[in-house]
Amino acid sequence: MRILVVGGGSGGTIVANNLARRLSTEIRNRKVRLTMLSASDRHMYQPGLLYVAFGQMTPDQLYRDQKSLLETNIEFHVDPVTKFLLDQKKVVTKSGRTYDYDILVIATGSRIVPETVPGLVEGAETFYTEADAIKLFKKLREFEGGNIALVVGVPHKCPIAPVEFIFSLHDYLKMRGIREKTHIKYHYPIGRMHTIANVATWAKPEFERMGIEIETLFNVKEVDAKNKIVRSEEGTETQYDLLIAIPPHKGMEVIEQNTMGDGGWIPTDRYKLTMEGHDDVYVVGDATNLPVSKTGSAAHFEAEVVAENIASIVKIGAPVRDYDGKVYCFIEAGHDRATYAMFNYTTPPDLKPASKPMHWFKMAYNQMYWTSVRGLL
């Protein structure tokens, strides 16, 4: 049996490593062949970009060689897929090679598309790429006071990031002694200050205590970079000196180019994690169209289900588990405190008070990630 994993981010790497161990005998006996195709030979710990934006991590700390993260019985190629020929059970890569499969796992992730909002590229800073995070850090370091506005595009990866950014920004400006000279305004797309009701209930008074102005129902329509004004679809506008954007995201271009899903999001069965209409194609992580957070955490829990089910199909001819929508997100809360949100399709998050031990656990997890992505944790 040929199992092909397309994508070397969190979801794809955990699927591949988990399968490599579950099917080690079958791979050794050449009954199973496990192959990964990725666009890069490096693997980035993306949550670390938030720390880079505040000078708390350097970019080199965010990377590992992808091959070093993979079990040795995984065949790995840096050769991104350009064509998915699902009816023929094969893919074609950038190099022109064709890979046949019996089971395909698509874990191609998502990408930022700030260019879809007029003026956003010219007028706003972000921290969703290495270069952008460094640029933002330099801007913050040069900042001497004024109006900072944060706006949030839809959809976006890591829905907790806007709240975490504000907590970190408040602490950073206080450390530099310019918090009193800075007005911070937080804008959010829906009618409360975070989409998770419990997070909104907890964070709103925290923001008020820190003197953060909040405007809800603000979806970014355009940025006038010359006059430093950001306008909303809802008809309001904010003047800024420094604009920070959580950029809108789309699925990868290759998904759209192969007409596999509007916006690059692949229609996926919420329990089986198979692509709609293709029982031999699994989808994990940001690439799905599921109504769960686009985070490494969701990708991780989905990947465990997919790997266990594929291994079960090989061993007993049937999958054994459903994905229950599980997500676990750390929430950095400033002052060296953190909390977390855990939920699934049927159980809403029950937020605990922020604490220092949870912050230190998050700091430890920044290193433990490399164990997690190997499928060991």
């Binding site: 839809v154 829905p159 829906i190 979806n219 769960v292 957070s293 998050p349």
Partner: protein, 76 residues
């Protein structure tokens, strides 16, 4: 030509039904109808609030066996 799309946001706590609607509204064409399925009681209020503020058209909302069916036409 206008199209109809169903967005199944049942069981979504994050990003949540309204964020899902906004995502697909951005992809839709003017005149398209979107039907949002939500198990969140709050959707009955917060979806019409956003639709009215942005200027789209609320076509209807009803609760069928615990699921809200909210129908919206993209107007701009």
């Amino acid at each position: 030509m206008s199209t109809n799309k169903v967005i199944d946001a049942r069981g979504s706590f994050c990003p949540g039904p309204l964020m899902e609607l906004i995502t697909y509204m951005k992809q839709a064409n003017v005149g398209d109808t979107l039907e949002l399925l939500s198990s969140d009681e709050g959707s009955a209020a917060d979806v019409p609030e956003w639709v009215a503020k942005v200027g789209h058209e609320m076509l209807g909302s009803e609760n069928i066996d615990g699921t809200w069916h909210l129908r919206i036409r993209k107007a701009k």
